[in-house]
Amino acid sequence: MKVYHQTGHNIKWNIDSFKEGVGDGLIFSPINIDADKLLGLNNNLKQSGFLDPQLYLLNQAKGSIETYPFFPGNLKSDFSTPDLDNDNIILAKLCIDYQLENDFNYLVIPTKYNAENPSNYLLQCTDYFVLPFCDYVKEVKSTKKILLSLIVKGIMLTDDEKRNEVLNWITSHQKVDGVYLIFENNFSSKQIKDFDFLFNALRFIKKLKDNEMEVHIGYSNTEALLYSIAMPDSITIGSYENLRSFGIRRFQELENGPMRSPNARLYSSKLLQWVDYGYIQPMKTLIENYSDYFDESIYNPLTNFEPDYNWQFKKTEPYKHYFFVFDKQIKALSSNQNDRIDYLKASIKTARNLFAKIESSVLLDDNSDGSHLQHWFNVINAFQKELIK
């Protein structure tokens, strides 16, 4: 299973990390990097990754997306959905041409975000994006594999009818080799604890794999470990939380206000969780060998890093540490599905024991504790039963 960097603000950290051998490629973000700058990047940074076209809101000029030739606003200043009736072909050409120019590993078909679930949404995506894109790729005789982007809303997972509709739609596109799946995350907790969501996400991935499609999961967080048992082709690592959890807000033009500094968190592969830095000191004081609960890396995040004001724009240590540790953790997973499942179950058991030890002295909050692990365990068991059927 591959690991891609879900890049965003501070793409330099991902590039540095990738150059140091962490991750298998980069997924580029038009709202964060100029079209020309991306074109000018060294090929070896681009050839293993791909572009996330980010036409989710079609005509929202967020960040640097306007610099891209395929940005709809560049075709027509007040471009809106109905314009796709006429301009879908030219849009496809511009978007594919740009991707070809960069020699990315995959060609990606964009998708439009929809807050609701209108019944003609998928058919529109076919007409607006899938058909013109596939036709143009055929026209230019490119042999690159094609990935179809899709934002998977919760209801597409938990509602049987909706799920069937989406799966039938994805698998009907003969020229498409795989999907770039983005699970929309509207959960209030940092870890996903919803059994229905997680279980159905696994089934969703499995169905696509049964159809011999490539499955690349974007904007993933630690639950990528859970997704791994459905054998997707790749997951992502991202620095900021909004790169590890997809929310449409990031693409909306918001009033320019100061970004509130998030609490610094440290990822532990042993705990399968990001722990708020505020708990490091109590752990240090109250728990023997507290550093055993965390990982080591050249970034020494336990000793070298102290979160201060706006640390998240200046300090890269917690992120690079996570890139390194998580990439290693994913690479250590077996390529055998059953072994992977057994390993994850054992890891969860170990993590829960470690949390029990921590919580004998330190009272962790809901976003730093192991409360997600029981849900993961239940999901794994349920999925295992499905596999045996």
Partner: protein
């Protein structure tokens, strides 16, 4: 009975002033969590910090927040509205385990300590220092602090 947490907070502030003095800060930012009230007692250069987390109901959430304040406080208290205090009392073991104070407070300004924690050292010298620096020059008065400590 309190309608809102704000109502509870205002009443409690009055109670604090009347009984413990005005050496306190409200909703300090930049620490670990945001304590509703941070009370300080200065003895020469020594500063003792007592933090309070007020909640109408959710005792467990309050306890988790109060634990955070132990990073920079010597004592941390959960103050619940009397109505919800029983639920917390049934789980007093948690408060004992983590050495978190528990008190109830109602709209009659009736304040009762249900569990008195031991005085402890803040877990983060850094955060504690940061807080101490902001209050070291304060001349505000405090009294009766010893009643809050075992």
């Amino acid at each position: 009975m309190f309608e809102t947490e704000l109502e509870m907070s205002l009443m409690f502030e009055k109670y604090l002033k009347a009984n413990f003095g005005n050496a306190y800060l409200k909703e300090c930012q930049g620490l670990f969590g945001v304590p509703d009230f941070v009370f300080y007692a200065k003895q020469k250069q020594e500063v003792s910090i007592i933090s309070f987390e007020l909640k109408l109901r959710n005792w467990k959430k309050a306890a988790k927040q109060a634990f955070r304040y132990k990073s920079f406080s010597n004592i941390s208290y959960v103050v619940l509205s009397s109505k919800s205090a029983n639920a917390a009392l049934n789980n007093i073991a948690l408060f004992e385990k983590y050495n978190i104070g528990l008190a109830k407070f109602d709209s009659d300004s009736y304040f009762e300590i249900l569990y008195k924690p031991e005085l402890g050292a803040p877990y983060s010298e850094n955060l504690n220092q940061k807080l101490v620096e902001t209050i070291i020059l304060s001349r505000k008065k405090f009294k009766n602090i010893e009643n809050l400590v075992r």
